[in-house]
Symmetry: C2
Amino acid sequence: MPCQRRCGHQWWHGKVRDRGFRVTAGREAIIEALSSTQDHLSAEDIYGKIHDRHPNVGPTTIYRTLDMLVQAGLVFKFDFGDGKARYELREGPKGAHHHHHLVCTSCKRIIDYTDFIDEELELLKRTEVGLSKRYGFRIEDHLIQFYGLCAECLRS
Amino acid sequence: MPCQRRCGHQWWHGKVRDRGFRVTAGREAIIEALSSTQDHLSAEDIYGKIHDRHPNVGPTTIYRTLDMLVQAGLVFKFDFGDGKARYELREGPKGAHHHHHLVCTSCKRIIDYTDFIDEELELLKRTEVGLSKRYGFRIEDHLIQFYGLCAECLRS
DNA sequence: GTTTATGCAAACTGTTTGCATTGCT
DNA sequence: AGCAATGCAAACAGTTTGCATAAAC
């Protein structure tokens, strides 16, 4: 199905088709929901976001689509310890956008940060080379999260 | 309850009592299970490990105890994406032992590593200072995980 | 036309909760 | 004695699965 809109919403079609998956209206809606926000959406969040325009897309499809997108490498699945999985687009029309997370252990707020990434990237690169030599491990991704108390919670 | 054994199994008693929690046989068994292995035990794993000697300790107690230990800062709770929480002692009789994880996305194997920790700690320290200035966030802990394919899975 | 995706309902898994009882301090 | 911890059974939440139908290729 060609893109219905004149904008570039089909950047991911190739990546999905290349892996033998099909492009459907439901999947379009789910990717759009993910790319329309900076938040870390749960499956339920996505359901809420798209249910108005796509009342036919149910939770099952969302879970199955998210699994597929994780498998295809388009989406990252996170766990922040609140019992539900959260999903984030790994790349957009403009390419990959990498960041790490600050998790407030009190109010569960999540702050994305991209500062200091340069130093971190340098260390990560070195670490990855070292680890692959030492353990024969091929590293494809990483997760860095800091836990603590956010400004709001420190105040009270 | 003073330690029944002549060894140093009571190193954590103070930390638990200081926070207003009590020392019980079940909790002793759970901490012993955690300290007797390098593995990342799930609640069910712990149940299996202690059920012979402590048939009276049920799953509920294990969950509640683990929550308490996480709260008391003695245990770290992880999620490796296999649907069950996993727990690891944060410190032992000899003090804290910090490490990070390599997660094989194919076979789900987890490899602990402590290499490069010094460099990492240095960077983390700098990052933490920067983040606390920028976001007013007080960082108390961090999680670093690398994802990829282990040597075994690369071979096949 | 063939194969993959979907929706529904029901099943499943890990975890949590209410309440009466036990046990630490 | 007083209050925290436990066990049991039942409840719960998020997620997964089987199967018939619909849609993409």
